[in-house]
């Protein structure tokens, strides 16, 4: 596949089902999700979010990820030209396969969160031998 020139993906503002108690814009992180034989992997772009400011919550089958921006860095900076806004990130997914909550692994690199959600044994595909 030939590599192509990148275009900007405009940030999508979150339209929450329930309003947040704290005012301010939230954005929906661009996400890739893929699956291999033993795990589901969620890859999210959250530029500017430090590892300590990411929270991952899995309740029943609902996975919620939030990433908070540290606005202190923008103190004393006066915007002169802007193309994007900054804000916290938030997104939830309903998972189709059962996840082993104890073995979830999270890794952050260059503003991208990778979450490895291992499937529980029962939901892993099994090969059935035909006698």
């Amino acid at each position: 596949m030939a590599e192509r020139d990148l275009e900007v993906q405009a940030k999508r503002e979150l339209e929450p089902e329930k309003e947040k108690t704290v005012p301010g814009k939230y954005y929906v992180p661009y996400t890739d999700i893929y699956e291999n034989s033993d795990a589901l992997v969620v890859v999210m772009e959250m530029p500017g979010v430090e590892k300590k400011d990411i929270s991952v919550n899995l309740e029943k089958n609902e996975l919620t990820i939030e990433g908070h921006i540290d606005f202190e860095k923008y103190k004393n900076l006066k915007p002169v030209y802007t193309e994007y806004n900054v804000g916290h990130f938030s997104r939830s997914f309903r998972l189709s396969s059962e996840i082993d909550q104890e073995r979830i692994e999270a890794n952050v690199a260059n503003g991208v969160l990778s979450l490895r959600l291992p499937k529980v044994e029962e939901s892993q595909p099994k090969k059935i031998k035909i006698a």
């Binding site: 590599e3 192509r4 020139d5 990148l6 275009e7 900007v8 993906q9 704290v22 005012p23 301010g24 814009k25 661009y30 996400t31 890739d32 999700i33 893929y34 699956e35 291999n36 589901l40 992997v41 890859v43 772009e45 959250m46 530029p47 500017g48 979010v49 430090e50 921006i69 606005f71 202190e72 923008y74 103190k75 004393n76 900076l77 006066k78 915007p79 002169v80 030209y81 802007t82 193309e83 994007y84 806004n85 900054v86 804000g87 952050v108 260059n110 503003g111 991208v112």
Partner: protein
């Protein structure tokens, strides 16, 4: 009535409002904007000059090349992803590819004093004006 409560989230709201306002203004003139090019860029001013901030999530430090020339800042690089073989993809929203973007500042840049920081997928360039651009006071005879 003025809000006298000190709210720790006020800086957030203030910044978001300021960015929105700057986005709808025509500071750099009509029609010369290069909005839509990757990466998106915000330019701030501080006491040392301009601070150019770009969001590059998923771009490795070694894949970013910053070039400064006279009054131009050029960002070149590539964004890649590697999920390995034999995976089934449920959702694909992240884009990958090359980028090459040049920004012109309204002053000559002090090339030796430019500082670049890259953290958590955000590149910040501190771009000070050259000595010759700074105002000088002339003593009146």
């Amino acid at each position: 009535m003025a809000n006298t409560l000190s709210n720790p989230f006020d800086p957030l709201l203030g910044l978001q409002r300021a960015l929105d306002t700057a986005m709808s203004s025509d500071w750099f003139g009509v029609g010369t904007s290069s909005r839509g090019s990757f990466p998106p860029i915000n330019v701030f001013q501080d006491e040392g000059g301009y601070v150019v901030v770009a969001e590059l999530p998923g771009v490795a430090r070694d894949d970013i090349d910053v070039k400064i020339h006279k009054n131009q800042v050029r960002l070149v690089g590539k964004k890649t992803r590697d999920y390995g073989e034999g995976v089934s993809v449920h959702r694909r929203e992240r884009e990958i590819g090359h980028f090459d973007r040049t920004l012109t500042t309204p002053f000559q840049i002090d090339v030796d004093e430019v500082k670049a920081e890259y953290r958590d997928g955000v590149l910040a360039l501190h771009v000070p004006p050259a000595e010759s651009e700074k105002p000088r006071s002339i003593s009146v005879q």
